[in-house]
Structures are given as structure tokens and as C-alpha cells.
Symmetry: C2
Subunit: 261 residues, 2 copies
């Protein structure tokens, strides 16, 4: 079932369409909003589950405002966060009706929904639409791959750093700011943990380390990064530094100053 079907349905107006352009020229939501009165926009409260894994989806959706979470649930309440969806991201699947993962709103937000068959005809008539979708898919896929590298190869501190860097980069895009960046990141430590294959306690300890080293402060949905380059350095130091230090200590040498010390 699609729980959002009970949400108020708002037809997209011309003004709305113009407003959606804030997502940039590649914005899928704005494109869709302007092409049929059957493209609708729903508002959803934080915490709403848009759909669950295995749901039969009648719509293809694009997030137009707010943050959402894509995840898969396992046994014993464990879950894997697959991606943080930001405005412009596709929620749903073009190739099949069955949902391969769940999606839930992290903040209040808005979702543009297109009936599947309407999307099909829009796509047939407008090649550029499918291209926009492909680009979104590939971007999401690249993020998933980076994610896999983190979970598979990096130590806890690096994973957390890498995720913070990703969040900053997704929010500051073309901006080349590198110092004292501060963004809203409406997520809890547990979301970071579930995304990185760690437990909440481990994420907490990693964040404390980053804070102690003045590399990043993440509290109550607000992320501050004094020096993005340095943080990226920790993210890309998989284990090498820690490893070297460890060995040196074992040999009785004085430990080198690490980024987090």
C-alpha cells in the first residue's frame, strides 16, 4: 500500500512550477510539474513512510522539498540506509512496479508524483525526460558505489568523515567554499550508523573524535565543518595512519600526531 495516497492532493499550478526551478536546470520535479495536470504534488510530514519494500507502486515520484531516507530492513530491527534523498532525487522505479526498498521522510517535504503509464507516454514523447532520469539514476548509483567502498574498506572514523563530506558536498554543490561550512543535516546518529554499517555507539565515539580534533561538529541536525579539505583527508585515510601509528607504538616508538589526536 502507498500510505501517501491519503495525503492531500494538490494540483501543480504555474507558480508552483516556477518555484520548483530552484532545483536547478536539471530538476526533474520542475520538468514533470509543467507537463500534465495529472502530475500531482503531495505534502508529507517528517517520519511518514512513503512506501515499504515490496509495495506495488502506482506512481513514480520525485522529491521536490525536504529530505528522505531510502533503506532496507532486516531481522532484529537492523536496517541498511541505502541513500539520503534530497530534492530532485527520484523515489520509485521506472522498470518495475515493485518497490525494492522502503522510503521514509526525514523532514516535512513535498513529493511530485506521476502515474506510471503517464510517465511512460511523457518519456516516449520527450527523450530528454528519460535522459534526466538516467542521470539521476547514475548519480545515485555512483553514491551507492562510494558507499560500498566506505562500508567495505574503511575504518569507522573514516566512514563517518566520508559521509559528512558527502553531505556537505551535496549541499554546497558548485560553491567552492572550503572553510567554516555549516549546513542543515536533518538526521540522527542512528541514521549515520545504519548507513555505514556501524552501531550508534561507534558513530558517537567517531563524532566525538572529530569534534575533539576540530574537524567537524554534528549536533541536533546541524553540521559544521571548519576545514573541508582536512576532513576529506581523514575520510581518505582508510587506516594507514592509524595502522602505522599502532605498529610504531608496538615497536616502542613515539606515536605520530594523528589528525584526530
Amino acid at each position: 500500500m502507498q500510505s501517501f495516497r491519503s495525503a492531500p492532493i494538490v494540483l501543480v499550478t504555474e507558480q508552483d512550477s516556477a518555484k520548483l526551478d530552484v532545483e536547478g536546470p536539471a530538476g526533474l520535479a520542475s520538468w514533470l510539474a509543467g507537463h500534465s495536470y495529472r502530475v500531482v504534488r503531495h505534502h508529507h510530514a517528517a517520519g511518514t513512510q512513503l512506501f515499504a519494500e515490496d509495495d506495488d507502486l502506482e506512481y513514480l515520484c520525485v522529491l521536490s522539498r525536504g529530505w528522505a531516507l531510502k533503506y532496507k530492513s532486516l531481522f532484529e530491527g537492523r536496517r541498511q540506509v541505502l541513500d539520503f534523498a534530497l530534492p530532485g532525487d527520484v523515489l520509485g522505479f521506472v522498470g518495475e512496479r515493485r518497490a525494492r526498498h522502503a522510503v521514509e521522510m526525514l523532514t516535512d517535504g513535498e513529493v511530485v508524483s506521476v502515474p506510471r503509464e503517464l510517465f511512460g507516454s511523457l518519456a516516449a514523447a520527450n527523450p530528454e525526460l528519460m535522459l534526466k532520469v538516467v542521470r539521476q539514476l547514475e548519480r545515485a548509483s555512483t553514491r551507492a558505489h562510494e558507499h560500498m567502498v566506505s562500508i567495505g574498506c574503511r575504518a569507522a572514523l573514516s566512514r563517518v568523515s566520508r559521509l559528512l563530506v558527502e553531505l556537505v558536498e551535496r549541499r554546497t554543490l558548485s560553491s567552492n567554499a572550503r572553510h567554516d561550512i555549516e549546513i542543515d543535516a536533518p538526521i540522527r546518529q542512528i541514521h549515520v550508523a545504519d548507513a555505514l554499517g556501524l552501531r550508534g555507539e561507534t558513530v558517537c565515539r567517531a563524532l566525538k573524535q572529530l569534534e575533539a580534533a576540530n574537524l567537524a561538529t554534528f549536533r541536533r541536525g546541524r553540521l559544521r565543518v571548519p576545514d573541508l579539505v582536512k576532513l576529506r583527508g581523514v575520510a581518505e585515510t582508510p587506516d594507514a595512519e592509524a595502522h602505522t601509528t599502532r605498529k610504531a607504538i608496538r615497536r616502542g616508538a613515539a606515536p605520530a600526531a594523528t589528525a584526530a589526536a
Copy 2:
């Protein structure tokens, strides 16, 4: 640079096109092969690197025969295997020229290559082409997500079991065989390890366990699974069974028989 540019270039003939249909009705390679003389087919030896991360790709490629490996390299020789590519899989990126990961042949095989701009015009003229690409992308994305669940949430034994199940399912597709399945899987333990975020030794120990329990035998590129349902059971038993057993032992109770014991 694209190292495969030095490979012999073979124009696709009508017969080739017909032959490529073994990939099934959704086969991208066969579709592409029939639509322009500028679509070429290359042969590549096992071990060939088709492209590296950050290469500037002039072609969009589809694997038509053999197995390939998508991966990202890190420090100290560590790498994360992102996906095993089988015939029909897209190698390359529609939305941008820059490669986001490396690809290397696991076996001898063939690759159908389309110049990027030609792909663009083919896609504009044939909406169904882009749809085929989207479906491939979504399938790869779903695999990546399953992969993340494994790496992030499962114990070593479950991860290995899950990967073996995935390989079997991809090779037997619509077949509903469930007993005594045997397939070629031209990979080594180290590929499994790099795919699952484990070390070779750990994969070896997991495989030994599976073999001892008569759940799967994987040796020299050949995988035999006596009972797919049972193996799937181990894959989906994240830790619960082992965990319960562990606790029971600590309490002094007799350990329950586990699948791998």
C-alpha cells in the same frame, strides 16, 4: 585512456546480431548491434582492463560475452568490487564521460561499443533504447543495494552465502531448478573477499564451513549448490542463529545444531 582501443575491431554483421539474441529479448547488445555499422564489437582476453577510474570514455559499452568486474581501488592495494558484470550488462556511463570506476575482464569475452554521440542520436530516435538502459541501471542498482545490506549488516558466513545465491540466481534466471545446481563462476576467493569487504582468509574459512555443511562447494571457478533453499536460509540468517547459540553456550546450555555445524 581506453586500453581496449588497441584491440582488433570487428564490425557487427547480421549473423552476429542474430547470435547475440541469446541474451534474451531485453538484450541491449543485440539491439545496438543491429542499428548502426558504427557499433563495433571487440574481443578481450581475461585480465584486460577495459578502463580505469577517471578515464575519459569515448564509447558506451555493453558486455556481450564473458564476465567482467567493476571495482574501485583504494590505498594499499585494497579494492572494493562493486559488481560482477554478465552478458547484457552496461559498462560505462550515459550521463558523463568520466569513468566512476574501473572495469576488467574476468574471462575472455566480447564487448559491444557505441560512440557516445551515436548513442545519443540512437536514443533520441528510439525511446525503447533508453528504457532498456534504465532497466539495466535499475537492476544493477538493486544489486548494489543488496550488496550494501550484506556488507553493512551480515556476518561473514551470511555474506558469502548471499553472494553465492546471487550468482546462482543470475545464471539460472527463469529456471526453477532448486537442487544440485552447478554453474561456472570464473572468479577467485579474493574477488569474493573484495566484493564483501572481507579478507581472503575469512572467505576461505566461510567456504570451508559451507562445504562441511554440504551447502555449497566453490572450487576452481566452479560452484555447486546441492540445495539453494537451504543456502538462502544461511544467507538470510544474519547472525541470529549464531548469536543465539553463542548466548546459549555462555549460559551453559548445549549448543543448538547450526546450519554450518
